[in-house]
Symmetry: C2
Subunit: 148 residues, 2 copies
């Protein structure tokens, strides 16, 4: 099997690295990266506990970091990679930023945006299930550990 | 007519002050305050242009400031006052913060959360139309000026 350096899987793998940093810091393990022209321009992981701020989801921090990097709040040419299906808040943020491609790993039937309909940018392409099992396992492991 | 110091109208008037600061800085004029036990614990206005960050809506900045003030990301006992109906992103943020009361001025049929259904916390009470004309006028004036 050949694995392109620039495949969706490779970028979700990078997002998974971020998710593992979250796990190590006792945060719900979700990670995200923003890619422009094959290059990662922002990486982030969920920090809602550390910052005591519900807005500090991985996607939000990654979108803000990408906009800072570009000096432009619009991210039309960027792809957001995130390990878990975005929530309503984060979906809304990608719509405002006009992100045209969103790739995620595991579905999130309860807190994901999808059960509320189409909340992303009208022209956004969505790819789901990339390394979905791995992204979901990390979440399961986290919550299993929390219950102990 | 008597006007309570602690009425919804008074707090929306404070949010309108914030919205006017946004207007003066050439930002879409939306302002927000967060109130706990009749006291304003956070004030903010839209700063998406200055910060070049789509996540810098008045509500998001106010929720983050309120959480910082309390050292707690959950704002169950707080009321969010905002001059215009929140968008999907901001509605999602209030849900995560478990805000139980949201009061806004003007409806936002195009970008407001309401057309997407119930996105706030399941137990949230919503009050709308408080100083709605004044809040809407400020928006109209801003966009009329922009078109010139």
């Amino acid at each position: 099997m050949t694995l392109s350096l620039y495949s969706d899987e490779q970028y979700i793998r990078e997002a998974l690295k971020q998710a593992r940093y979250a796990f190590e810091e006792d945060e719900i393990p979700i990670g995200a990266v923003v890619v422009l022209d094959k290059r990662i321009i922002a990486r982030a992981y969920n920090q809602t506990e550390k910052l005591q701020d519900v807005t500090a989801h991985a996607e939000m921090l990654a979108l803000t970091a990408a906009a800072n990097h570009l000096g432009n709040k619009y991210l039309q040419e960027c792809t957001l990679y995130v390990t878990v299906e975005p929530c309503v808040m984060c979906a809304g943020a990608t719509a405002w930023a006009q992100v045209r491609r969103v790739v995620y790993g595991a579905a999130e039937p309860k807190f994901g945006y999808r059960r509320h309909g189409q909340l992303l940018h009208p022209r956004a392409e969505v790819v789901s299930g990339i390394l979905g099992d791995e992204c979901e396992s990390l979440m399961r492991e986290f919550f299993a550990q929390k219950r102990k």
